[in-house]
Amino acid sequence: MSEPVLELRSISKNFGGTQALKDVNLVVPHGSLIVLLGPAGAGKTTTLRIIAGLDAPSSGQVFIEGMDFTQHQPNQRDIAMIFDNLALYPNKTGYENIASPLRIARTPKNEIKARVMEMADLLKIRHILERTPATFSGGERQRVALGRAMIRQPRFYLLDEPLSSLDFMLRIDLRTELKRLQQESGRTFLFATPDYTEALALADTVCVLIEGEVRQIAKAQELYDEPVDRDVARFVGNPPINIIPARLTRDNGTASLAIGTLNMALPAEMEHGLPSSISDVEIGLRPEHVHMVGADSTESHLTGTVNDLEPLGMHTTVGVNLGGVDLFFTVPGVQEFKDGDKVEMHVDMGSILFFDPKTGLRIS
């Protein structure tokens, strides 16, 4: 079947005077896992509610399997929507919790059994089917809840931050599990999250929604390497990318960047890529594209002054002042600098991204 299971065409939504969604277009193919990524208030939930039929769009259409479903009632759409607060029936066993949607649909008994068992295997919860929720761990509860939500086989699933209320260890486990489940079952997921790492871990394709607009639809890694604009660059990656105003000057065929009080030569191949009309830019420098070197290093380096330190385990984020500009970079391991310490840093000029300071669009 080549028809996409879901297609949003020019969806806009106004709430009073505010425009929550602006001309949203999205195609969700059969069997895909697409992540709708965006900060709180970006319009993720509104988008899902419009797809589910819980809200009507102000304009635009929702196509499901090639048919216009914009005017259809939620129960006519055959979609499952899964939230993060999945409640269980406390007095029913794991088995009965998962089976309940099928019982309501009057599915034959032997089919119920086969499907519950299949779901229990997928979620690795066979051992708790006979127990009641009071004896479940947090992860088991969420698995049973997911099993119940997924036992029906609707056209596709809308998942609205389904893991956000879990401990982070559990979240990591379950997202790997969800991805496996989606791949093995061939079902279609549209998964909303504000968490970029979750998007990376889960998705084939990520749709970035910011301020009600689809800014970029791309592979997760591509968002990181080639963001279309400043907002996407900032939203993707932690610690966030450093965005620094800079001035580009060209002199006799060599280009340099003035940042704060510093002047740094720009590799020739980068200079060629930039329109000659441009001089004021904002540069995007990812924290891992600055690294520490010894004072006697032969690599070009600059001296910065430490003004913040955030050990995060695998990495430490170091705040430095470099030529009057504050920026953050990451170093491996748990480091123990003090404020005021001097560090020598090499900036990987080839990795710098350029943005138009007015429009925020990336210049490439």
Binding site: P39, A40, D167, F168, M169, I172, T176, P194, D195, Y196, T197, L200, A201, A220, Q221, Y224, V236, G237, N238, P239, P240, R286, E288, D308, E310, P311, L312, G313, M314, T317, G319, P332, G333, V334, Q335, E336, D339
Partner: protein, 370 residues
Amino acid sequence: MARKIKLELVNLRKEFGDLVAVDDVSIAIEESETMALLGPSGCGKSTILNMIVGLEAPTSGDILIDGKSVLAVPPGDRNIGLVFQDYAVFTHMTVRNNLAYGLKVRKMKQPEIDREVSKVAEFLSITHQLDRKPDQLGASELQRVAIGRTLVTNPEILLLDEPLSNLEAAMRNQMRRELRRIQEDTGQTIIYVTHDQIEALSLAHKIAVMDFGALQQYDTARIVYQYPANRFVGSFLGNPPMNFLTGKMAEDGGRRAVTSGESTIPLPAGGFGSDVSIGSNVVVGVRPESLSLAAADDPGRFTVSVLAVEPQGPETVVTATFGDSSFKVIVPTGADVVEGGSISLVPESDLVALFDAESGVRLLDSGERP
């Protein structure tokens, strides 16, 4: 530099019927230091907090502030500032009145109150919001008000109970930075209760890791992260967490190795693990970032098959098999690793740990602990 001990918990114990909620915990917190009380829900950290504040009496043990027992001191007189995750600001009062409240209760004079309030407001960058009501503020601003309201009373100890849990990720990062600044600028002694290892690592001078009511380890962020005292600590800190490769001790080409099924991981050269007898069950603990792709001639290398490859921006998380279990490795994005293929790895030798298979207690350090 030995600083004064501000707060000391001495064999602190709390039982609820048969349940031991806090199991003889002893911790000394230095003045002007941030101590994080870290653990999963139910580990006893809230009970400890309640005992420090005075809302709960210990079954046995003592709590000393500046060397004096405070068990007989009523909660209101312990001079401990408390900030919760849900802010608990007065919604009917302006920010100004919220900040002033604690001082009014203390019957401070109005000009003095005004001075203190504007000082703390400026310090927390909420001066322009002084005349607003809490319902006009965002979550991080509310948390600033809650912190300000407590700071203004100049407490001996500031207790923060999961203060960032209600904030979204970007705001949490910013508030972490802010809290570090507040601590540095005021020299306030802070106890920070959290289940989030990132907050503990990034904010605290020392971390007390709790599980099942018992103190598992109490040390600096770096030591707790690099040299976990037991499996629990190794697994609770780090994202992805520490790997635990279970197997039997063996000998492999003149050095010790741990094997499971077809898999073998050589232990660091130089006699590491030689006093653990061959054939005993052990667990190798190694963090995903302490394994790296090995050169073809590296004698410490081992080869494993790749289950999954997940690029995460600059780094890629690779899931590989060891025996019949799996573990994770961090490699640079773009490295030549494919699902279904194999990779050769070598552990960073001074960060390999060996744990007892049964008790989970650390047997040896491979490196000298700096």
